[in-house]
Symmetry: D2
Subunit: 335 residues, 4 copies
């Protein structure tokens, strides 16, 4: 297999994950340039003996780079994607493409015209548990899926400074669950009803966001999904999923650091779930890159498209509108 | 302890459960008369060497009877309760009191004036699992409860003939879950949003009912509950509950006939949940009668009041209205 | 069905279990007489409106009594069984028949000649979990059973006074496991190797007994069983079983009072197993009596025979001898 | 940290595991030379751009190499270890050192005199589950450990050709469990009783080995361990451990590829355990190398010593002798 030359934009928390995965697991991927404005990133990247620039633009300008991995802040995504597309570079971009629906639509249009491949970082699709659920649903094991239930709770809220630029709970956090709902059910959502509340920290409310939400999705055929989100589960990262259908039910529990059970005089005790998304979704981050590289190098289909990003975003916007207007919102009525 | 004389009205499926429980477990309860219009019931009751009448009225007319257990059809409940109350007899009545909100309000008013005790048969409150959850919530183990999730699925739909007179999925089936939500959360519901569908059997739709529903309850303080109902879970009776709070989470799984695990070359296998409410809730039926008799005999507080029946009913009516009008419905706006 | 007249000898802890079960569940069984020398028993039995005598002999002397339930102390069993057999009364006797192998052999001989039915109280054979395991083994689900593992630990040791007359850990406690091993494997044991220790309470050692044991049973075909026993599991009554075979493995876990799971910041927690044999084996006590009465009334085969008692006892004796002589002991070399 | 130069002898199945782990996870370890007589190995190693030789001796002869990883066949271990020790190279060696007790004793003596570090590849000590159990036992969570139970079953037997040179079930397979027993209990074994059988494949018996075994270990203080081994569990690799003590019990279950549960009309189903030691013990292989390198580079204590290898081997020899002579064998009587 011929080597693929890539550029990596942004080496914050998630950028480092991707960088390490590429170095360790993809011998045919050559990291031609890493760009990030921060000094901390510079030191880190140079320690890896990789080419580094403080200017994202240098990735675009490098004609040898065939694909880009975009892990820079959200507000740089759309512009970077457009320019990468116009330069003929394939694109893996962390979600979301942008917080504005218009911008996303416009950007996807540019990508489409350019002919490059664009994959959004909905990494949870590549988690072994959810992949198993997906394959069982697709194989007909549960018959027609009727009710989907997703539990998605973070171990603790991010800093208020992050909350303020995050796009809010639905766009920042629940968007993964909205994508998962479409992915598992293989159907489009037509209506969204969400109830939100500030139960974890009043400062989150002061920042204009909510920290707890319960969402009902209705699909085109009348089947339904329920998603509950909280910014703070004191017992750790809680990521569960259950699909109920005409022929059965399948569900996935959390992942744990070990499987011991301790029996003492006051009860039976076990370990808490893996506490953070970097630990829980280690495998999924690796798998999603593999899928992207396979698609670019071998011409295989992309497992996550730009449209997937757009549809998940619409659900997030409808959920927010539903909370604000205290009524169910139809996807088709957005904008 | 002095003996309490009671009458039992109706010995169908649930009436038999109560009758057997009384005979086996309550030596201080004397069944003075059992009434039921059916011949099958007559044969059954006489086989137990108990006094029998084909006319429910004879229970009311018997001045020795101090308390009644009402297991007759729903459309007889309100009238029977009123007359029993007016005769000074304490009342245990299967839910619902009536399908009409006005009738229920009027009946509860009569009961209140009469001074007799009235307990509704919300047996699930007495299930060991849910009692455990309740005690953990009440003791503060999970901090402030924020999200309640109830799964309540039947192993199969009742006959269409029953569906037609049942009051519908919300009034007949989900009403137990609505009561459970108030019981666990210790708060009143202010808003209800339900999505319903006919996914199990079109004949249920033809009968004017739904067979699948997803309901969001919002409580007075902004906390929330989600309830999913299906008339048909092919793997059996699915009754689970989970409460998430500021300091932890507690959940209850189904009950099983045994706890074996079988490991074969094609997977790990276990028994399905207990398949029907009579098996799953055996203990709760016994416990609820014990609570009723204790209240009547020892003057202890009733654990389920007429108001509990009324509030659960309001939620059911709001859920139905929500499905019909495709919008959230406020409890205070009912009628 | 015609009524069977029985006598119950001994109403200590286990006698009361049987008495209550008979009164509540077997309408065709008439308790003609209960005998027990203690005053406490007298008060208890008279409170049930049953005929009572302080003399066991009066059961034997009553010609109307067709069957006896023997729950009196172990040292009365053999003599009572012999006389009941000679009086033509069918016998249900708590284990063990006697602590002396010779006496047991002699007693069984007398029973055999008399033609009455004798069932030993190996109640665990009737536990729903072990019945499930048994049926799966018998149906070939695990292929040829190769290794059996039994965990059998009490929540706490009995009083030293009881230990002294109990016959020791193997005869008093492990004998249930030895019977279970034969029952599940459907084979005879040929060799026993046990290691015993005093790890719980030195007073048990002073009383000439052990409180912890690990036993290897070898069956006639070379397959094996392992049993571990302790007089004190601080987390409650621990009764588990696992059978490994050529086509799979099946195991049974403990029973629990509820199935809640509590997730707090310091772990996941669940309830301890049911704490005592009366709670854990409630159903098995009922089932074994049903089997006995069916056999007597309908002529069905007895599910536990006198020979079963004898064989389990031989294993217990071999285990004790193995501990004493620090070597494996062959069953055929006993006596 | 300064770079450590190592040589790797043997790149069969386990050698490749170590090689990949070193390349991916230990940037400060330089693989100076890989040696293996096979052509397949040559191609594999050259593909990694590493120095290769067909002659193990070239590792010893290279004065720059500071440490060796020995993954060559068992019959080369002792000689290689001796020569590496005499050349002043630290040694990580796959178990066993040799099949002869005398050779092992002699080799350890040479190593001791040389002053180099020698670590045996008892990788299971580094498995996250067993590490958790170990830490809980060491911290006193279960009080005094009294009974240890290990289940260790392979998914299928190795080829007969391998069986013939393996040293037998105890030396090849159960030796890991014998080491684990000493590791968890922190005590020396004084007596061994094993029962062995050929239940999986008669060809294994023909090759002079057994395929199924049940072993009782007695420790110096009278506490006990039970180990059951089978060469074939049709449901996959079964590696469980349970320690029972005066204050509680702790156990570890198997690892699974996912944690889904599927509920269909005929039962509840889950995935089988990870099917092979390479998958189950992935993390432990990485952790053991890390421990070795830390010890060599930072002067930390070795977590597994040559004596650990010797003691586990003695238990294996005693187990074999016990099966042959049908009696318990004391470790002190070996030789």
């Amino acid at each position: 297999m011929t080597t693929l030359k890539i550029g990596v934009a942004g080496v914050g928390r998630i950028g480092k994950i991707h960088l390490e995965n590429i170095l360790q697991h993809f011998p045919n991927i050559e990291i031609a340039l890493v760009a990030d404005p921060s000094e901390e990133a510079e030191k880190y990247v140079l320690g890896k003996n990789l080419n580094f620039s403080n200017d994202y633009n240098n990735i675009i300008k490098n004609p040898d780079i065939e694909a880009v991995i975009i892990c820079s802040p959200t507000d740089t995504h759309a512009n970077f994607v457009e320019r990468a597309a116009q330069s003929g570079k394939h694109i893996f971009c962390e979600k979301p493409l942008d917080l504005s629906l218009q911008t996303v639509v416009k950007t996807l249009d540019i990508v489409k015209k350019s002919g490059v491949k664009l994959m959004l970082g909905f990494n949870r699709r590549f988690d072994p548990n959810f992949l198993k659920i997906k394959s069982m649903v697709d194989s007909g094991k549960i018959g027609d899926p009727q009710i989907l239930k997703i539990t998605s709770r973070d171990p603790g809220p991010p800093p208020i400074s992050y909350i303020k630029v995050s796009g809010g709970l639905f766009m920042d956090m629940a968007i993964h669950d909205f994508d998962m709902a479409r992915y598992i059910m293989n159907k489009e959502v037509v209506e969204v009803y969400s109830r939100g509340a500030v139960l974890v920290d009043p400062a989150i409310g002061d920042a204009g966001d909510i920290d707890t939400a319960l969402t009902t999705l209705t699909f085109e055929d009348g089947t339904m999904a329920n998603i509950d989100n909280s910014r703070k589960a004191v017992y750790g990262y809680d990521q569960r999923l259950e699909v109920f259908g005409s022929k059965g039910m399948v569900k996935a529990d959390n992942n744990f650091p070990d499987n011991h059970q301790y029996f003492s005089a006051d009860g039976i005790h076990g370990s808490l779930p893996l506490n953070f998304f970097l630990e829980r979704y280690t495998t999924s981050y690796l798998n999603e890159l593999e899928a992207f590289f396979k698609s670019v190098q071998n011409g295989e289909d992309l497992p996550v498209s730009g449209k997937d990003g757009l549809e998940a975003m619409k659900i997030a916007l409808a959920a927010l509108k539903s909370v604000m207007e205290k009524r169910p919102v139809w996807i088709k009525d957005l904008r």
